[in-house]
């Protein structure tokens, strides 16, 4: 009898947790994490091999 109640509570808890996750979705920080991109760019180097020409 006690074991049966425990099983019922266990299944109810798991069901409740899954329902809660379905309603609220995954943790919000996972969605808000932005994509990042870094562009390193140059132009008009004009064959210069010394980084700071005088």
């Amino acid at each position: 009898m006690v074991n049966g109640m425990r099983k019922t509570w266990f299944f109810l808890s798991v069901f409740g947790l899954i329902t809660l996750l379905m309603i609220t979705g995954l943790p919000s920080h996972a969605q808000k994490s932005p994509k990042t991109l870094t562009l390193l760019y140059s132009n008009n180097i004009n064959g210069e091999i010394d980084p700071c020409p005088t």
């Binding site: 991109l37 870094t38 140059s42 132009n43 008009n44 064959g47």
Partner: protein, 312 residues
């Protein structure tokens, strides 16, 4: 660059032209041809070592002509791009007209344009065997082609700053214009109708870095300095409000200013943001040992040619 490549961030390294030679002088002295060719090869080898992803063509890259540029492009580990430059004989595009790369799930389309206005006329030896298509019409066609396939479109522009502005005003869809030819340092990039226009000073004095944080798929970006400036403004207002002896009427004005600043700051939440940094290469970049070896070998060779040791 190496550290960035090894980090979790998506990194893309691009050049928008006038890489290989100094400003074109017509005619090129015969005795300089070999040295120019060697220097151009050194530039390509260095760019290979730095891991460049693509390069647009500038007018000065054609200093030694079409055939030389085609030949040297084969030595590069990255594509030469030009969308409006065509081979006169075959009518085919001279180089790859666009590139699509995916970084961290972000599909990036890159194309390149060169202005025919930078050549002195049909007799300019640099444009021998070449024809140009209209940069504006080519840009329209490229955006139409790339838009459905990409999340972000970058133009490697060798049109000049004025034309870059005009293009951003007239054509929607290009997110970033990496400009060239003028060699102006755009520390605070111009943003026109959702297009960010960038450019750095000439002759290798500066490199630059643009960091993008994309929170959504909208094509709009704001400059992170805008947020910093608003935050500083908000701090300053709060200090004024906390000051002891301020008449109530003035306090009301500051409260209103505070509310407006907070509202503007809230509007930036969740929007895509960019940060641009112009980097002084001499002061902030470490020497790459392999490139340093190449440069020193080139300099030693050039020195020997200038001052040959006379035989005893």
């Amino acid at each position: 660059m190496k550290d960035l490549r090894e980090s979790e961030k998506g990194v893309f390294v691009l050049d928008s032209g006038d890489l290989l030679f100094k400003k074109f002088v017509n005619p090129i002295p015969e005795n300089e041809l070999k040295g120019l060719s060697e220097k151009a090869h050194l530039m390509i080898e260095s760019f290979n070592l730095m891991g460049y992803d693509a390069m647009g063509i500038g007018d000065d890259d054609l200093t030694m002509g079409k055939e030389f540029l085609l030949e040297i492009s084969k030595k590069a580990n990255f594509p030469f791009l030009s969308s409006n430059l065509f081979d006169e004989a075959s009518g085919k595009v001279l180089f790859q007209s666009f590139l699509i790369k995916e970084i961290h799930g972000l599909r990036i389309g890159i194309f390149a344009l060169l202005s025919p206005d930078f050549f002195t006329g049909p007799s300019d030896p640099r444009r021998k065997g070449l024809t140009f298509r209209s940069p504006i019409e080519t840009a329209q066609a490229m955006v139409k082609e790339l838009k459905p396939k990409t999340d972000l479109i970058i133009l490697l522009s060798h049109l000049g700053y004025g034309k870059d502005v005009e293009l951003a005003q007239t054509l929607q869809g290009i997110n970033i214009i990496l400009g060239g030819h003028n060699g102006i340092n755009l520390v605070y990039p111009t943003v026109i109708k959702n297009t960010i226009i960038l450019q750095t000073a000439s002759r290798g004095m500066y490199g630059a870095r643009l960091d993008l944080l994309l929170y959504n798929n909208e094509p709009t970006f704001y400059n992170s300095t805008t947020k910093t400036s608003l935050e500083n403004h908000l701090r300053s207002i709060t200090q004024r409000l906390n000051a002891a002896q301020i008449p109530e009427a003035e306090k009301a004005q500051w409260r209103k200013a505070k509310e407006e600043t907070e509202r503007t700051l809230n509007q930036l939440q969740g929007k895509n943001v960019f940060t641009n940094n112009i980097i002084s290469l001499a002061e902030q970049m470490k020497e790459h040992s392999d490139i340093k070896t190449l440069v020193e070998a080139y300099k030693a060779k050039a020195q020997t040619k200038e001052n040959p040791i006379s035989p005893k």
